[in-house]
Amino acid sequence: MSDTDRVLLIPKIDNGIVIDHIPPGFGIAILEIIRRDPAMRDVVVTLGLNYHSSKMGKKDLIKLWLDELSPRVVQHISLVCPGITIKKITNYEVERRYVIRPPQSARNLLRCLNPSCVTNTEPNVDTNFTMVDEEKKKLKCMYCERVFSLKDLKPIIP
């Protein structure tokens, strides 16, 4: 059986969301973010790992039987894995497709790496980051004013 045939064995989605072009290895991390949203508790989900991709070689893929992802979940995913595609499926057809980009600002989605930052030392202070270099994906903490690479910052899981 070829890789393509194997992919076809995964159930097709009639109405729902497909998160596509996930770099291999990130599927589980993204599923983890989705799983923590209380609204996702009863949603049917399939996770595919290491699918064949003509563009990427390999990719992960998630299918969800629900209408929309919450904006917070999308923002969270965009921080972990910018550049992936989200497709909205209606009657087996792609109704809408968009590539998610890293956000221009992220309030209370990421933890600051500076141990002396007030967001790490005071209770009840939300973090807030602003994109200062889109190309290099660098974000500035709006409190301690230090600049970090997105890949080094850890998301806050609610």
Partner: protein, 307 residues
């Protein structure tokens, strides 16, 4: 909309010029008139770590404008020691005053206070991050010494790696144009590269490194000295080797150009000998005086009161 002074990064060149112009104007306002500017106003100084100079300067500035200062000078003397959060402390003390001045060892604290409070908030130092009134008084001193901020060759000497004062002043100066910076530091205390902006982001600003203080003295208009702190050196032998390399005395200043000026954020330890104080180069006590004027300009600006 209330105004805060939290970070130099929030200020445009016009904002900075606004503070400089107001301070310049205040030089001409008679003392008795100043006393009528903020009668009855109360400034709250919330100092979670001691900084006597900064606190006294703010308090004197407020008193000279006719207002009063209250506050605390160490966190252990307050309910903070009993575990009160910053948010609760700010919400409590803002009922007692018209403006808050906060100093705190954790970076970003003043920003949080500014977001919570309905009052104007002044950052008087948040850890290694910002101390904007120091930066503004340094800019004001440069303007007064040379009549301009631009067309100047400025040497920064000493601990360029950790000095918040130097980092903040460089970040402010590059908003101006036609400046040449000469960086004089031991190898282990060089200016972090992220502070050197790409050339296309600033107007005619250059950076050059040297290890020779003598050369900097001969070629620059201004020498900005900093303290080299022993605790920054993992190896005390290295500290002993470099500490005197960056020590100014009357001898090393022999034959320096007459327009040269020397600044230092104070307190000094050994890096400027007392023999320098009597020379025409010494401008560090002028800085202290200018700090008082600049803090008056800041209080008037944030409280929206005309000079």
């Amino acid at each position: 909309m209330k105004r805060d002074l939290i970070s130099l990064d929030d200020l445009s060149l016009e904002d900075i010029r606004g503070y400089l112009d107001l301070a310049t104007h205040l030089e001409t306002v008679p003392d008795e008139r100043k006393l009528t500017r903020l009668p009855g106003a109360i400034m709250m100084t919330m100092f979670y770590e001691p900084s006597t100079r900064t606190r006294l300067s703010f308090e004197a500035a407020m008193c000279r404008l006719g207002g009063r200062a209250i506050g605390f000078a160490a966190a252990d003397a307050t309910s903070v020691a009993k575990g009160e959060s910053l948010v609760d402390t700010v919400r409590t003390v803002e009922n007692y005053a018209d403006i808050l001045v906060i100093r705190h060892p954790k970076e970003g604290t003043a920003r949080v206070a500014g977001e919570i409070s309905l009052l104007p908030v002044i950052n008087a130092g948040d850890g290694a991050n910002q101390h904007p009134s120091q930066t503004l008084l340094d800019l004001y001193t440069i303007q007064r010494l040379f009549g301009r901020i631009g067309n100047l060759k400025i040497a920064f000497v000493g601990d360029l790696k950790y000095s918040r004062t130097v980092h903040s002043l460089i970040r402010a100066l590059i908003k101006f144009s036609h400046l040449d910076f000469v960086l004089v530091s031991p190898e282990s205390l060089r200016l972090p590269t992220y502070l050197v902006p790409p050339p296309e982001q600033c107007m005619d600003v250059t950076f050059r490194e040297t290890q020779s203080l003598e050369e900097a003295i001969q070629s620059c208009d201004l020498v900005y000295m900093t303290r080299v702190q022993r605790e920054r050196f993992p190896d005390s032998l290295e500290f002993e080797r470099v500490k005197d390399a960056y020590c100014l005395d009357a001898d090393i200043l022999q034959g320096a150009p007459s327009h040269l000026r020397i600044m230092h954020p104070l307190p000094r330890v050994n890096e400027i000998a007392y023999s320098v104080d009597r020379t025409t180069y010494a401008s560090y006590f002028t800085q202290v005086r200018n700090g008082l004027i600049m803090r008056q300009a800041i209080l008037l600006t944030l409280l929206g009161v005309a000079p």
